[in-house]
């Protein structure tokens, strides 16, 4: 434990690369490539970083672009910009403004996102709070409380161009959404399962299985509501 206090800092200004290791604080301004596994208390990124190994950070602040190959593990993460993870992303409290792509699973205790989220596997968080500014996709969404909204920023510009660029349509798509309290708007899913389900405007849901109550907005479409 004593040794931990003496871990060095890593600072990269401009263009550089690091081979990895354990650090106290890592600060990157500029463009960098992290070749090995990095473990640190705090990672601050301004600019762009590409990590080829695993990143583990107690705290992660990212403004700019971060590419991670294997695993990104963060305690508290504030992400502004663009994040791409080829493997898994694990966090505690994750706040996102921008664009995130995770090819594996994304799990966190709380996930507050505004922007565009693409998860290849399971988006698993105790509290999912997602405001879609673009097209969000996930194979599965699971958690205790799930709330999905459509963002209103720049909506006129977006409607104008969404016919040409499908990514601009602020809609959330998932195969299955499962949780205790589910509150959806502008969401397309084949199955939604939960105890208290609220299906708001603009939703297209194939099948809803609920144990408590179900509210459906008149502008939403639910093909097959089942009370279990």
């Amino acid at each position: 434990m004593e040794r931990k206090a003496t871990y060095p800092d890593l600072k990269i200004n401009g263009v550089g690369q690091a081979s990895g290791g354990t650090y106290r604080e890592v600060r990157i301004d500029g463009v960098s490539r992290l070749k090995g596994d990095i473990e640190c208390e705090k990672l601050r990124l301004n600019g762009m970083a590409t990590a080829q190994g695993t990143i583990r950070a107690r705290e992660l602040e990212c403004d700019g672009k971060l590419n991670a190959v294997r695993l990104l593990e963060a305690g508290n993460a504030v992400l502004n910009g663009m994040i791409k993870v080829k493997g898994e992303f694990r966090g505690e409290k994750v706040e996102l403004n921008g664009y995130i792509v995770v090819q594996g699973d994304l799990s966190a205790e709380s996930f507050h996102g505004r922007g565009c989220v693409e998860v290849g596997g399971l988006l698993n968080a105790g509290e999912v709070n997602l405001t879609a500014e673009g097209r969000c996709t996930a194979r599965e969404i699971g958690g205790e409380s799930i709330r999905i909204r459509r963002g209103t920023g720049g909506s006129r510009w977006r409607t104008m161009w969404s016919w040409a660029i499908p990514k601009l349509t602020a809609i959330t798509e998932a195969d299955t959404i499962e949780g205790d309290r589910i509150d959806l708007e502008h969401t397309t899913a084949s199955v939604v399962r939960g105890s208290v389900v609220h299906v708001g405007k603009g939703c297209k849901i194939g099948r809803v299985e609920y144990t408590g109550e179900l509210n459906v907005h008149p502008d939403a479409r639910v093909e097959n509501p089942v009370k279990v």
């Binding site: 105790g126 205790e144 205790d180």
Partner: protein, 208 residues
């Protein structure tokens, strides 16, 4: 993997009375291993299934323990059990982790779908390895199995060594905390000395 009995997520929740939120939270905390989530397509689309005989005891354990321990403590308690990796009897034989000879001799009475705990598998595996080395006879294996059953758990979490000695043809097994120095009277033959931790490592690799 063949006719492993699977249970769908919906059935599991109905049977155990837990909610989706709890299940996902436990998965996040890695109380339920990733490999137990088996995705299969059904006529309603993709569904998640679990191996029934593994998941039910685990859920039971979590439900019973979660009142006394926080989830993080629980995770710590369960995950050093990464080597809590139970397996069915027929699968053990099929994957050739424990040879048929050993299984038939010592596990004859158990039906094919018995689930053995890691400790039991380890005992079988140790017997198997010693048999393979040719130092031990099948009858002596029985003795070893008993020793491991009786005293094996006392070494939980500690490095442990198995010593097999013979004097005038009489076999004696001993378990010792390693590193231990041992000297025997003359005329004693140390037939085998093996670190159980090595076996645990090997077995973990094979089971994974």
């Amino acid at each position: 993997m063949s006719e492993k009995e699977l249970i769908s997520k919906k059935e599991l929740l109905e049977m155990t009375g837990i909610s989706y939120g709890q299940l996902y939270r436990w998965k996040r905390k890695q109380l339920i291993p990733e490999e137990w989530f088996i995705r299969k397509s059904t006529f309603t689309g993709q569904e998640t299934f679990f191996p029934k005989e593994l998941i039910l005891p685990r859920i039971d354990k979590i439900v019973n323990m979660k009142d006394d321990l926080s989830l993080d403590e629980l995770a710590d308690k369960l995950s050093p059990f990464v080597f809590d990796h139970p397996m069915r009897k027929d699968e053990l034989m099929k994957r050739n982790i424990v040879s048929r000879v050993v299984m038939n001799r010592f596990g004859e009475k158990d039906p094919d779908n018995t689930v053995y705990s890691f400790e039991q598998i380890l005992a079988f595996y140790t017997v198997d390895q010693l048999l393979l080395s040719g130092a031990m006879s099948l009858d002596e294996g029985e003795l070893l199995l008993q020793t491991l059953k009786e005293h094996g758990e006392k070494f939980e979490g500690r490095a442990c060594e198995l010593v097999f000695i013979r004097k005038m043809g009489v076999p004696v097994f001993a378990l010792a905390a390693s590193p231990a120095e041992m000297y025997f009277e003359s005329g004693t033959k140390v037939v085998a000395k093996a670190a159980l931790t090595d076996y645990i490592e090997q077995l973990k690799l094979k089971l994974a």
